[in-house]
Symmetry: C2
Subunit: 391 residues, 2 copies
């Protein structure tokens, strides 16, 4: 049998990032290429006792089919608990539960974009979102990132000239892969431009709680007086990545369509993880836990930045994140980035080539991504010293 | 803001079934409309102790990101444990884990069908699959069901005349909604036709383990010498529906594309439910558990059939399922099915109007679906007596 695949899927190849990651999975490799939250931040003891309590008191709720919108008490408590980031409650918005932020991203594209419609993305951006859009046949247009967020002129130009722009995809805080936080001024300007051009904003905020320096900035959702913003959040970085629980706050009409589409994807998000998230938000010291995670990431990012400062060739520039999991290094022009990454892997340090995050992987790129949440403190120090020696 | 939705989603309305179900959610309503497995069959005690063991011995595996293909030991053990239904292992096939069979169904369509391509379905068929195909813009063509499976002439006619047929979607055992099992002869004939016309078969087998009468029949996958069959299975009816763990056995090239598409939907299936399924398959009396579930459904279906025989107007015909959760009643022509369902709901018994399962809900239909897994024994007896009085 010769298989013929749909057009949307035919072009989608396992990314260069996966290949490099596979090559760097061996034991002893220092994993600056990872994107995992630090496992030591998972509240294992609490998860254990909450699970027991759930399976003793309400096993059927945990094990039987549930509503596609998610577990009702969880939906309510998320809306209350995250009021600081999502802004005041509005009658015109609804919140529902998804199987990780990834599903929220995919559903937004599924309900808003026909094949060939354009999604404007930060360039570079989160590869999981880009591939999700591609797998639905959306056209991607990249707008370059600056140190305080998107280049606004390029954004307006894209809004004016790209065909059938339906959505603007953004990670305004501690962006993956750059670690960049979009300034308040730019948040306002981006919102105004989206409104002017009648384009929805998909605001992806998986790292929002993980600020370890500076002051919180308002999300685009919190400014959303016009019903432009679909906001996606996640428990992956604060409770557990493996439980796959995220949430979406969207205008009612959009939420309704997304829920119908979600029903066709997995009926509903697994119930036991939803009940665990509910317990975590209502019976655990949530603020204390966040503060603990921030301490871990402050220490780890600080270690990495100090080592870079001390050991790296000063011609290599890098971002200084205020939160999240990543920083972004740019090599001087005369060094080939791909060669550098390959040499680093050969010497036991895995980093991700920056072009993996571009709208087209063949665009020129001289940057790479570093993660500090997965490696141990010792690995961070050692890994940066090794990288400093790579020519 | 005026929202404009993608074409694939615009036409997708919350089904008539959901509206009727909502109307019948009140307390005291007898739920013949449900599709839930009997909650008393969930091995709650085992799930509780397995969860404890997992979170004590290997919390990071349960809580950290995992592979998109699924937890490797689970993939292996599923392939071994289900060898009887899936047939001998073949080098050309791979098995991966999905977030319930629903996701396997959606991914098969996503990777094989362009918008406008045709999927041939049994008519009536499982509404969750139909909506999933619709949400990806596939065109659906229905082939009428007979008491031993599809009408073969109508199937061949559809294969010859429908445009761009990419897939044939089947539930050969204890079909939802009819309870019909496709005969061995028809299974062979359908496989041969699919091969002749070069069309993939999506074999959905969520109820396969739940045979309580008669002899097991080989699945289409077990006959699949030509790499035509994508097989979807599930733990929803034997372990827990709310944990959302299913699996797909597909030709390698197709599996690879489905995994890339899955990554864009939810990264991977929640790990704790996967580890639970693994424990269930390796440390539990799986065969004994299946036998217990079969006893429950044999008793409940027997109760319902006996009551129908005793009380129903003999002009109402019905299927006699050999397994699964459903049976299908057809009213005499002079009775309006929709009026009948409404009157039944008004008298406290919820059933699902048969047209909800048709390719087009406005086709004529005089049947309705009954579920016997969710109601109690007492509700079954009482509900059938009430239905018998509905005129």
């Amino acid at each position: 049998m010769e298989y013929s695949f749909s057009n949307r899927i035919s072009g989608l190849q396992p990314s260069i990032i996966r290949e490099i990651l596979k090559a760097s999975e061996g034991k002893g490799i220092i994993p600056f290429s990872a994107g995992n939250p630090a496992a030591e931040t998972f509240p294992v003891e609490a998860i254990r006792s909450f699970t027991q309590a759930i399976l003793e008191k309400d096993p059927v709720a945990a094990l039987q089919y549930g509503l596609s919108e998610g577990y009702t008490p969880l939906r309510q408590v998320i809306r209350q608990r995250f009021a600081a980031s999502m802004g005041p409650e509005r009658e015109s918005d609804s919140l529902f539960v998804v199987s990780g932020a990834q599903q929220g991203i995919e559903l937004a594209c599924k309900v808003l974009c026909n094949e060939g419609d354009t999604i404007i993305c930060e360039s570079p951006s989160f590869i999981g979102a880009l591939n999700s859009f591609r797998s639905l046949g959306a056209r991607l247009a990249g707008v370059p990132m600056e140190e305080d967020g998107l280049n606004l002129e390029a954004l307006e130009h894209a809004l004016k000239t790209e065909p059938n722009v339906k959505m603007l995809y953004l990670i305004p805080s501690f962006q993956n892969p750059t670690g960049i936080t979009t300034s308040l001024e730019k948040r306002k300007a981006i919102y105004a431009l989206a409104k002017e051009y009648g384009v929805m904003i998909l605001e992806d905020n998986p790292y929002g709680e993980l600020r370890f320096r500076g002051e919180d900035l308002p999300t685009l959702k919190s400014m959303d007086e016009d019903g432009l913003v679909i906001y996606v959040g996640s428990f992956s970085k604060i409770l557990s990545a493996g439980l796959r629980v995220g949430f979406v706050l969207a205008p009612n009409a959009i939420m309704n369509k997304m829920v119908v589409a979600k029903q066709g994807e997995d009926v509903h998000t697994a119930m036991l993880p939803q009940l665990l998230a509910y317990k975590f938000l209502t019976e655990y010291d949530y603020d204390g836990h966040i503060s603990l995670i921030r301490d871990v990431y402050r220490r780890k990012s600080g270690l990495m930045l100090d080592s870079i400062k001390k050991h790296f060739n000063p011609a290599i520039t890098y971002t200084v994140p205020e939160g999240g999991l990543f920083l972004w290094c740019t090599l001087p022009k005369e060094i080939s980035m791909i060669d550098y990454c390959k040499k680093a892997a050969a010497q036991g340090v895995a980093v991700v080539p920056g072009n993996a995050f571009l709208i087209r992987e063949d665009e020129p790129c001289n940057a790479f991504r570093l993660n500090y949440s997965t490696p141990s403190d010792e690995q961070i120090k050692q890994g940066i010293e090794i990288l400093a020696q790579v020519q």
